[in-house]
């Protein structure tokens, strides 16, 4: 951290001007980042008349949560008017197992590839890592065929599998880069102490891993929760995740277009990831510091 103000000579007449400029810069960009959220939030709290008559950026005259309730319980998606509720739980049922399994597999694989190096471990890592870069459109058709073959097409377990597979390259990358910085001697010491492969993982590696586990879970949770392409391609009707339902909801109009409902629905959809970022954001940065991105 470059904190020179404490050192002698650090105070100059320029200092306060520079400080002012710094805050101005930070605030301007804060506005750039926060703007879309403000638009969505304030629109969701207005009623339709206000939306029609006011401007985009004006704040709601009075706060009105009707649109939220409507989006959650009543809004029509296609011909069924159930609101986002059932789809939200679909997403939960899909995201949690997918995040957990891909994280556990990633941790075990990263551990094996760094601490139990065998011939070709580097090549295997490179091959897994390459999976990060595959454009998902490439895999839609063969994946559809495979899911059908496995008899899990159009089901939540099917989507879970898809997300595990394409999350693995990232989780392996995170854990591998983290574990590479843990000294090998620890493993040797534990081996001589009589701990086996899984015992070392459980007793030594996992207790050292919370920073990277947080990073991985945040990353995976965000990616999987926000997925649209796979959800839209591999599910229909009642089994769809909430992002797809949101899209259907926004594009389903019965009569007047209710922008406030659309925006409330968008915020409901975004809520879990937003909460995770706001609550765990600091651990995210800390976890990144702990070595997941070095090299």
């Amino acid at each position: 951290m470059a904190d020179l103000s404490a050192l002698p000579g650090g105070k100059s007449p320029w200092q306060s001007a520079a400080r002012f400029g710094l805050y101005a810069l930070l605030l301007i960009f804060a506005a750039y980042y926060i703007l879309p959220l403000i638009v969505v939030l304030s629109t969701s709290l207005k009623d339709l008349d206000e939306i029609r008559n006011g401007t985009l950026l004006s704040l709601p005259a009075e706060i009105n949560f009707d649109a939220w309730g409507y989006a959650w319980n009543e809004a029509c998606i296609g011909v069924s008017c159930t609101g986002l509720k059932p789809y939200f739980w679909n997403s939960v049922a899909m995201t949690i197992p997918a995040v957990l399994i891909s994280t556990i597999l990633g941790a075990l694989t990263g551990y094996s590839l760094t601490k139990f190096k065998f011939k070709g471990a580097n090549l295997i890592f490179a091959m897994i890592l390459f999976g990060c870069f595959i454009p998902f459109q490439v895999v839609l058709l063969p994946m559809a065929q495979s899911l059908g073959y496995l008899r899990i097409a159009n089901t939540v377990p099917g989507l879970v599998l898809v997300h595990i597979v394409y999350g693995l390259p990232f989780t392996v990358l995170f854990f591998r880069n983290y574990y590479v910085n843990i000294p090998d001697d620890l493993i040797k010491a534990a081996t001589i102490d009589g701990a086996g492969f899984f015992m070392i993982f459980w007793r030594i590696m996992l207790p050292l891993s919370p920073p990277i586990i947080v990073v991985t879970i945040i990353w995976q949770f965000t990616q999987i929760w926000n997925d649209f392409l796979f959800g839209a391609s591999f599910t229909t009707g009642g089994g769809q995740p909430v992002t797809v339902a949101l899209n259907n909801l926004v594009n389903t109009t019965t009569g007047v277009k209710r922008y406030n409902v659309d925006m409330a629905a968008a915020l409901i959809t975004a809520a879990p990831t937003l909460v995770v970022y706001v609550l765990a954001g600091r651990y995210f940065v800390r976890g990144l510091t702990a070595g997941s991105v070095k090299g």
Partner: protein
């Protein structure tokens, strides 16, 4: 306690041969030091004894049992690492007890033994701390405690003192020595520090590029180095190497050393003691004369009269380096810089000529081609 036998052990990574057939036999209760510069294969050998590295060829036996394929935890060994390798997430007590826990020792028994080991190493007051809260020396002790508590057949040490400061290093060295004396357990100790090797070992194996150069007691290694490499590696300051020729002068067998003093070429003849008549075959051939600095000192006629091996010559002094007890005096012999260990009260100012004597009874002769001891 156990014997350890290493038979023609080889290790290669692909085409690169790291160990080229090591043979070492260790009696029960011995303290073996594997000495060598970094990259000589000593740590690899230690890892192989521990079972942390596979053996490409050959056999390792503990108590006459081949252990090549035995898992480390079943070899009944304990190891202290250079980095200490303490588990950061566990308290000191848990660290020490982890090996016992893994071996399903009852909690009661475990606590007793951990306590015993901690007291022995004077770290019993630190039991609840995490490794991050300890000083280097304390960590070292915990690492030792972890090995100690297991009461293994063999202790393995991988440069355990190299991360400590000089004073602590000497202290811990003594403690390890005491520990060995008390327990009598077989120990294998890897280091690149020849003083550690000399002080601790019952036998030293000096390794170079995957081969054992000499495997002997510290004294023998010091006095009768098997080759110039060993001779140069052990001892500080190192042994002086002087090109010389074996000659017979007046019926006496000795070496002749060429030297240049003030532009004049001359030679010095140093007779060999009677028990070195075996080098008679070498008359007329070049050899390398190896002299330890402490066997080369200022001339004392009284001593010469007592010891037939002492030979005298004069030489110009070039540089003086006082160390307190002795002054290292640099002279030129055979075109090489040679160090003599001289009593500070007998030195001469640089540039002046001084009378020296050398104990040819303790000198070594090496074949310049093979570098082996003659």
């Amino acid at each position: 306690m156990a014997s350890l036998s290493i038979q023609n052990v080889k290790k290669s990574y692909g085409a690169i041969e790291v160990l080229k057939g090591i043979d070492l036999d260790l009696e029960d209760g011995e303290f073996l030091v594997l000495l060598g510069p970094s990259g000589c294969g000593k740590s690899t050998l230690l890892n192989m004894i521990a079972g942390l590295d596979t053996i490409t060829d050959g056999e390792i036996l503990i108590d006459q049992n081949v252990v090549n394929d035995v898992h480390p935890k079943d070899r009944d060994i304990a190891m202290v690492f250079q980095s200490y390798a303490l588990y950061p997430n566990m308290s000191v007590a848990r660290n020490i007890g982890f090996g016992l826990e893994m071996r399903k020792v009852t909690k009661e028994d475990r606590e007793k033994r951990v306590d015993e080991a901690a007291r022995m190493l004077q770290i019993d007051h630190l039991s609840d701390r995490k490794p991050a809260q300890l000083s280097g020396g304390q960590r070292q002790r915990v690492a030792m405690g972890r090995a100690l508590v297991r009461d293994p057949e063999i202790f393995l040490f991988d440069e355990p003192l190299s991360n400590l400061d000089a004073k602590l290093r000497v202290e811990m060295r003594t403690e390890i020595k005491k520990l060995h004396q008390r327990l009598g357990t077989t120990m294998v100790y890897v280091t690149h520090d020849q003083i550690e090797a000399m002080t601790l070992a019952s036998r030293i194996a000096i390794l170079r590029e995957g081969e054992v150069q000499q495997f002997a007691s510290p004294q023998e290694v010091y006095e009768k180095p098997a080759n110039m490499y060993v001779a140069g590696f052990v001892g500080s300051p190192p042994m002086n190497f002087v090109p010389a020729a074996v000659v017979s002068e007046d019926g006496k067998l000795g070496v002749s050393i060429e030297r240049t003093a003030n532009g004049n070429r001359s030679s010095v003849f140093l007779a060999l003691p009677d028990d070195r008549q075996d080098v008679g075959d070498w008359i007329g051939r070049d050899v390398i004369l190896g002299i330890r600095p402490e066997t080369l000192t200022h001339r004392s006629d009284a001593e010469i009269s007592l010891n037939k091996g002492l030979q005298a010559f004069d030489c110009q002094v070039e540089v003086l380096e006082p160390t307190g007890a002795d002054t290292l005096t640099y002279i030129e012999l055979g075109g090489r810089e040679v160090i003599a260990r001289v009593n500070p009260y007998n030195t001469t100012a640089p540039g002046e000529t001084m009378a020296f004597m050398v104990d040819m009874g303790k000198a070594s002769l090496f074949d310049p081609k093979t570098e082996l001891r003659i």
